[in-house]
Subunit: 202 residues, 2 copies
Amino acid sequence: MYTRVMDSRQLLVETMGELMWERGYADTSPREVRQRSGVGQGSMYHHFPTKRDLALAALERNVADLLPGASELDGPGDPMARIEAYLMRPRDALKGCKVGRMTQDPQVREDPVLLAPVARAFAQVHLSWVNVLREAIAARELRDDLDPERLAHTLMAVLQGGYVLAIAQQDQGPFDDALAGALDLLRAAKPSVPNHKTNRSN
Amino acid sequence: MYTRVMDSRQLLVETMGELMWERGYADTSPREVRQRSGVGQGSMYHHFPTKRDLALAALERNVADLLPGASELDGPGDPMARIEAYLMRPRDALKGCKVGRMTQDPQVREDPVLLAPVARAFAQVHLSWVNVLREAIAARELRDDLDPERLAHTLMAVLQGGYVLAIAQQDQGPFDDALAGALDLLRAAKPSVPNHKTNRSN
DNA sequence: GTCTATATCGGGATAGAC
DNA sequence: GTCTATCCCGATATAGAC
């Protein structure tokens, strides 16, 4: 590791990451990156021969930014409480998801290399969801006839889709509703004869 | 109404609609539209002075394409059956949603005029969802402590988010999972003492 | 590593004839 | 309404000096 220094390279990656969040990949120009970052032309093309190279680095950075948040699902603590905490964490719905947004960018979608970090990120979040859902079932907080793999996709979709609804209406409300509704459903899906002795072997 | 003729104007709208579905707005050029449609330059700018004008027409057309499908929710028939039919209708997840996709296009997102048809479409679908969910509650197919407005957003989000997951993985699976999981949750949210006499006053 | 200069191409039109 | 010609600009680099 070559240690710290907030050098040009890193500045570029950070700036590109922001712009990709705000504007996507296709509609972000190298010019904008240079202007916002203050890094010069020559310098930029020295570090990143093409826009795509820069985008790849930025994407990986954005993914790395996001994953720690999802690890909130991994515990410790009561599974349903972790789920609730994760779902109810404050999020700016109108900004959308740094990572999920990329799936709608035509030039990312068609480029397996750019899509790969997105796929990996989602796969990892899915894993966390599956685990916490399994635990919730084991703790009798959820009916055991629910399929954790499926449900994990459902809950991830609520999040990603919530952003879409919020942006469409230019209103945070639908996003909050979508998450709250999902939580309501989970609560309604407690086993019909729950273990009231609450001896948490977890 | 000036009757049929698949004239240039209509051809342009149709083609732009397809391209916006495939590539979004920002990344679709007037040139592509002309080439795919076969309509000439002069003709195009005669009918639509700017790209944005064409996009608006195409967007409205795409919305009009989609709404009839959502009216499947409006019945008649058993509410839960309608919900299931709507959710399980075959969809090509990798193509994404014609309308929802627009929310991720930077140039649409920032343009209230272009965003408006999207917002109206979603509002209308939301209405259909609220109605069918109310009916499901009235028919004792869903617990009456669930909030139809919220749940409507949740279910719309599952759909929209399902597309995101599918595209990320380049796999229809996560989409199908997300919808199936949502249906599982709805089924698990039946009232604890359901009315087994099934006297449908609906 | 960074700078400035230069190059090519496509996007998004406008002009004016037919 | 449709055609061809033309225009300007920004996107995305490449070249070569410092």
